[in-house]
Symmetry: C2
Subunit: 307 residues, 2 copies
Amino acid sequence: MNKEYEVVIIGGGPAGLTAGLYTSRDRLNSLLIERGLAGGQIVNAQWVENYPGFPEGISGFELGQLIHQQATKYGLETVTAEATGIELQQEQKVVKTTESNFIAKAVIIASGSERHKLGIPGEEEFTGKGVSYCATCDAAFFRQQPVAIVGGGDAAITEALHLAKFASRVIVIHRRHQLRASRILQEKALAEPKIEFLWDTVVEEIVGKDSVKRLKLHQVVTGEKPTLEIAGIFISIGLKPNTNYLKGILPLDATGHISTNEKMETEIAGIFAAGDIRYHSARQAIAAAGDGATAAIYAEKFITGQS
Amino acid sequence: MNKEYEVVIIGGGPAGLTAGLYTSRDRLNSLLIERGLAGGQIVNAQWVENYPGFPEGISGFELGQLIHQQATKYGLETVTAEATGIELQQEQKVVKTTESNFIAKAVIIASGSERHKLGIPGEEEFTGKGVSYCATCDAAFFRQQPVAIVGGGDAAITEALHLAKFASRVIVIHRRHQLRASRILQEKALAEPKIEFLWDTVVEEIVGKDSVKRLKLHQVVTGEKPTLEIAGIFISIGLKPNTNYLKGILPLDATGHISTNEKMETEIAGIFAAGDIRYHSARQAIAAAGDGATAAIYAEKFITGQS
């Protein structure tokens, strides 16, 4: 038989964990579905300086653990499984997973999004040790040091401009001979003396010891294989919200994100979305956690008929 | 001469402090204007159990201090003053205050809202010691104890229903002989055996020692003056966003709140709003902090022409 809950939460990052902390503390029978480690993407962040409340910073792993511990304390159940779909049966929502199906009065979708990876040697090994997917999070760790950024779209060039405030040099590595970024961003980047460009170039390997030391590159037109000494590499080649299992159930935008209103309500009554899965999300742990609290509060109002 | 900043933030609660932490860490020259103590309303919370990252809880005062310390560490300036208006001068915003005027490229409004107070003896003294303005925050502290709630609107009855999950008795004290709350909420409250009503009654004094012990009441029809033994009193008689100084500058809704989109943008380019001042805010520190981060990120994009 399918187990019943008042609230089922999909995703165990800061958004889902905070939603679970709130619904459990509000005495709603709550289940959190997470396919990996509780904490979500934040567990990959070696040091988080911008989560408010920790002036000295905190490791992403520890922050994830603390929030999970806090939610569990109030009764949140967690199951390790991957969500595969949601089925609407009158007032009930059936959340299908790789393990079992769960019935809920309200569902909070917080399954986040994933940054595309280069898939090259050294990338995984040095993630959080010089390899980063978020300049807002990590630029400040590279003061007066040379860094590379891989990508050519708006996001990559925005991150390059941000990095230029901290780093000694910012080398943009792009596999094509021109940027996809908007002209205004291109002009700004070209006008910034700290920013240099390596065109028609791909990164083949990230090399280091305790942290990143250099990149092995491949100039695809000339065939040259130079190396580049840097302290950090930022990878900005797109991201993908984890919403495949929601196709045909919830309206998704062209990039696969979910739109909500300020109550975190989606277009289906009783289904809420929180965190990086949302359109225009700030992609920050604190913003995701805030979304989770808001979704939980309006999910409770929905369940008790007060919304 | 008016001092110039890239970002001026109005309000030093979790929303404003987090916005300041982000803009300062992103190397934007930032000023925070706060009329009282850094931390905002949260400093009145004796113990906060639902701010994610602190499984054992934390005092509201300490949480406010920690976030302020963290923002200051990255260079946020703070001035003690009250904002009195914003003037638009071409691309610049002039924030007028009781101390001085400040010029900004972007303004983040995070001046919060205030719960209406009863204005009776004992109310201020026992705030955080049995007197609360937020059932979501504090209901869990009153397990198996009798509590009172003052008010008769939707918010008060929603809070009464929430309190009934924890408290042994919930006494709704209302100065009129019928509720203003919606019929569905009234029906739910009348059907809940733990909830009782005292009609035509006002609270004249809150009495206690280390914490609240009893209420001195006044039945306005009969003239009787009974007392009521309770462990906690929740006051839910409305709230007022601190937006008086924005009248005629920004569109406010009927309740004085500001509407934003998911980027925290208001209807005026370069003016953002975050936290309890927003329409449908969850009224939680974590949600306000999340708003602050989002506003800061989009303020930076606005200033650098990337939005």
